[in-house]
Symmetry: C2
Subunit: 364 residues, 2 copies
Amino acid sequence: MSTRTVRVSLGKRSYPIRLGRGTLDGVGAAVREHSDATRALVLSVPPVDAHYGARVARSLRAAGFRVKRFLVPDGERSKRLRQAERLYGEMLDQGADRGSTVIVALGGGVVGDLGGFVAATLFRGIPVVQVPTSLLAMVDSSVGGKTGVNVAQGKNLVGAFHQPSLVWIDAATLETLPARQLRAGMAEVVKHAAIWDERLFRRLEREVDALMALDPAILLPVLERNCRIKAQVVSRDEREGGLRMLLNFGHTLGHAVEALRQYRGVLHGEGVSMGMVYAAAHSERLGLAPEGTRERLEALLDRIGLPTALPRFERRAYLRAISVDKKKRDARIHFVALRGIGRAETVPLKPEEILPAGVLGKSR
Amino acid sequence: MSTRTVRVSLGKRSYPIRLGRGTLDGVGAAVREHSDATRALVLSVPPVDAHYGARVARSLRAAGFRVKRFLVPDGERSKRLRQAERLYGEMLDQGADRGSTVIVALGGGVVGDLGGFVAATLFRGIPVVQVPTSLLAMVDSSVGGKTGVNVAQGKNLVGAFHQPSLVWIDAATLETLPARQLRAGMAEVVKHAAIWDERLFRRLEREVDALMALDPAILLPVLERNCRIKAQVVSRDEREGGLRMLLNFGHTLGHAVEALRQYRGVLHGEGVSMGMVYAAAHSERLGLAPEGTRERLEALLDRIGLPTALPRFERRAYLRAISVDKKKRDARIHFVALRGIGRAETVPLKPEEILPAGVLGKSR
């Protein structure tokens, strides 16, 4: 089975991302290569499990694992301590112990983050293999070891760094991804290009339609390029001390929108899309990015079909939501600004400097 | 303020253990040296807080921290995800963020483990300072970065490795420790001597009464020696890949007793005491330790006033309880056996080899 490999270099915690198309049946053998475990717990959500759960389980069984499938409800609200507790209980009741079980997170960001968090904390750490089936998870959340759950006060506020043993990407699984989810994942692809790689950005401007149609001639190279960017950034700054913060481009306002909407009716990538357009406009206002940067970014996101305007909440509601964001350090937030397409930097700003009075329009 | 320092060497995660007597008022300045935080959350339980909470808070305030005291009910049952969730909420509602807050865990093992776990997972890791006030926490749980909570299936099954920034030990706080807790902590002191340091064991045999009376002439050297043993083991094996497992001497049966008693009516150190006597006897049965090893260990524990006989549960109940223990790997458990007083090793054994039929007496 032909796959390409991108390596995440983190010393003892290094691991490969293996990308291919129609490679899902190879996952069992690959997990076997990377694990001494005898049991595999496949964590998924019903819509993904319906398409791929049986195939993944079969592949793992053929590789010698005892397999149990475990489902959580689809959606952000499954990323809670309560679901983590269910999962601990299930695994322990089946006799899991430190060396025997690998978690296989089959699905999008919710499954990857929750499965990763449980793997990080059960017995103070067991292996996890990420098998992302959403575009967002493929290019972003499955790589880098950030795991977490949400609490009432906000998203991903509780978590741990826990690198996976392997990331197995079958691009063919995108065929069953709902179109809205595909668009949302494109936001992170555009983000990588905007902060890091102008050439990729130009390629997206030329070929975004073929990409959205999942044309393998562009899909696989773009996935690989995105994984390489993420792997580079993570290898150089595993714990988000500096460089990795650039990956938060668009996330300050994006998270605020998600929180104000109570994580309902808005996908993470949609929030990031709005947040990126705002951040690009603000980069121009701060005199950091040349005029036209916001316009070019917005045009690409528009073509993808992503929302680009912030929803109409009061300024003070935004300020409150920004202040709980975990990227804040004391009064200042590491706001990610563009220097232009393909170049970003962080600027320490107070919430009211990120969102000055008047920029949301007169009534707010 | 005069303190002795024991260093835990773990590269970037290195930290000092600072020991003294009557040094509690110095904790604020010491935390300030080790942290950029502006806020300190002092986690404690009511009986410890009543004695020392105000002093620690005053010392932290004098060092420039905004201080909030937070209490959980005394006892093992506070080590739950539910209490962790309360603590996350409290800190977030007060505007805690990644760089601003240090957790100061003032108390025994429960407070240290819970505070450490919350520090490990809030914002994927914030600093924690351990201020142990029980003997067990001073010589064992506050050093080494093991944090955790209990779930229905057993103790410490969920957790993370998260090293403290500083361990601040004021031996004078032992004056207010209930006698039963002091005895229980002695079990870990005896454990260190039994697995690592025959000279310390002989000293305990000679001077245990003075030690139990908290005579500073022996108390401080013994605390320091114990911290050094723990620091050495942890520095060489942070994540319990080998050497550190020796610290589990007495814990296989000890944990089983705690679980069978549903963590009620038996202290951790009491379980460990019974477990050590069993493990020593079993080491003799296996032909590893010379005859008389169990007798010598039991005599010392007896003098301290610790229980040495396993409670009367059925053998199959013990076997079940052992099997959920997290030190199990597949069917075999790394059982810690003595080679004699001062020398230990792990032996991979099945539960039924750890507890062969007949050893508990005829009726079981």
